[in-house]
């Protein structure tokens, strides 16, 4: 579904060049939920922008559903790291969620159904007529998520969406994402720098090295599909996986290659 082949991105400034990512290759199958972790500044957002067709990789290519990405693909939604700034302050919550649908040439009833459904899914049905600036940070984030799912994407990209919310809201939103993923069967790439979050959410965790960035490790998360904040997080296997990802990130920082796949 999502193919990233040898993506390299160099930002060319006036008098300096920054190699944000060196060489990334991985593949997500249709309907997969993968988490991408990596240290701050390692190029996660850069990678996301390349996948979303907002940036052209310096070399390498991205394919979505077998088609090379040259501009933003049609059935893709993105939740940006700066979610607050990604909402239109002059549109209501409802207007924000509906805007992309207007471009999709959907009928008015269909649009209304999608908006209502999405807002109910994220628990914001009551705030449909509020403006983003009347909402808390966590609620704004949920508006961005509602907009993403109302679009009915086949691929959903999320960039550290929970970085700015408190622990409780964060836990709720994590469960929300898993619920939405199961319900709408999308392919999800979820970027985070929180190891626990990555293991809890994903079927798979991709670990990026620090700069120059490559894929350091690819960990399959063999936890049961039904996850729960209490039981899953206290699961022995969860602890093992978290330790594995943690040590890979440490290796990445120290510039070591991935250790041999740990026996499971």
């Amino acid at each position: 579904m999502l193919d990233v082949n040898g993506v390299q991105k160099i930002y060319r400034g006036k008098d300096r060049e920054v190699e944000a990512v060196r060489d990334l290759t991985f593949r997500l199958e249709e309907g997969e939920l993968a988490c991408l972790v990596g240290p701050s500044g390692c190029g996660k957002t850069t990678l996301l922008k390349c996948i979303a067709g907002l940036l052209k990789p310096t070399s390498g290519s991205v394919e979505v559903a077998g088609k090379a990405v040259t501009g933003p693909p049609r059935d893709m939604s993105v939740v940006f790291q700066e979610y607050g700034r990604s909402l239109f302050s002059w549109l209501t919550v409802q207007g924000n969620v509906e805007l992309p649908l207007k471009e999709k040439k959907l009928s008015k009833e269909r649009r209304r159904t999608l908006v209502t459904e999405a807002l109910e899914a994220v628990g914001l049905a009551d705030s449909a007529r509020s403006y983003p600036w009347q909402l808390s940070g966590g609620m704004q984030q949920r508006v961005a998520i509602a907009r993403a799912i109302a679009y009915e994407p086949r691929v959903l990209l999320m960039d550290e969406p929970f970085a700015a919310v408190d622990a409780q809201t964060r836990a709720d939103l994590e469960d929300l994402i898993r619920g939405l993923w199961q319900r709408f069967s999308m392919t999800v790439l979820f970027i985070t720098h929180d190891i626990d979050e990555a293991v809890y959410l994903g079927q798979r965790v991709l670990v990026l090295s620090s700069s120059p960035t490559v894929v350091q490790d690819d960990v399959a998360v063999d936890l049961p599909a039904e996850r729960d904040q209490l039981t899953t997080r206290s699961d022995q296997r969860f602890t093992e996986l978290r330790a594995r990802v943690y040590s890979e990130i440490q290796n990445a920082k120290n510039g070591q290659a991935a250790s041999a796949p740990a026996a499971t």
Partner: protein
Amino acid sequence: MTLVIRTVRITRRGAVRLTQLFLLPVLLILLWWWYSSASASYYMTTPGEIAATFVEVWFSERFFVDVLPSVGLLLTGYALAAVLGTTLGVVLGLSSRMRATAEPVLEFFRAIPPPVLVPLLMLLVGVNTPMKVALIVSGCIWPILLNTIEGVRSVDPVLADTCRCYGVRGRRWLTTLVLRSASPQIMAGLRQALAIAIILMVISEMFATTSGLGFSIVQFQRSFAIPEMWSGIVLLGLIGVTLSTLFVQVERRVLRWYDGVRAAARDE
């Protein structure tokens, strides 16, 4: 009982507001009254006299001959400047290349005080309404243009990326993203332009014309009709206040979201 209390409270608040609004004007008028009646100067007229003259002069045929055409002229020039200024501003704001090309020229024209264009425009366009409109446009287009350029340039890149991802383009992109993002700056430009437009309307009518508000005031002055002259100035002031009150109403509605964003930012 509560209803009574509330009504009383509302009336009290209304009274405070009214006092705030009118206290200073009333004081100033009284001061003027005292000064003008004490003064022996022929050119100082008491407010009472001016008010009487005002009714006499402007509540007449003059209203249709001199006032309405002037206001029409003002609004035409202003509207034209608004349309041209925002259109050009959006184009220049979106294209850095065109901006780089146009910038030196814009700076040059902006530096020319509009009244000095009058002789030139009289030669080029003639002494007629288009000349006056052109003068108003040439003066009040700059704040609109420059503010629009700034506004368009400051569109949030995250919001622009959001539009790209969700395929928002064309007209909807222009109206929902670009113009709305830039609306606080555009409104600021329009507000400055309104004041300039009023000044230029008067100036345009002071040269070689035979009607209009500006002409009337100059003519009264030349024929030593001093109370009439004062009443013309008062009328100009009233027109200015009315227009800016209307403007504030429109602005409040258009920028409701912006006030909300700012209030929310303050509370944090």
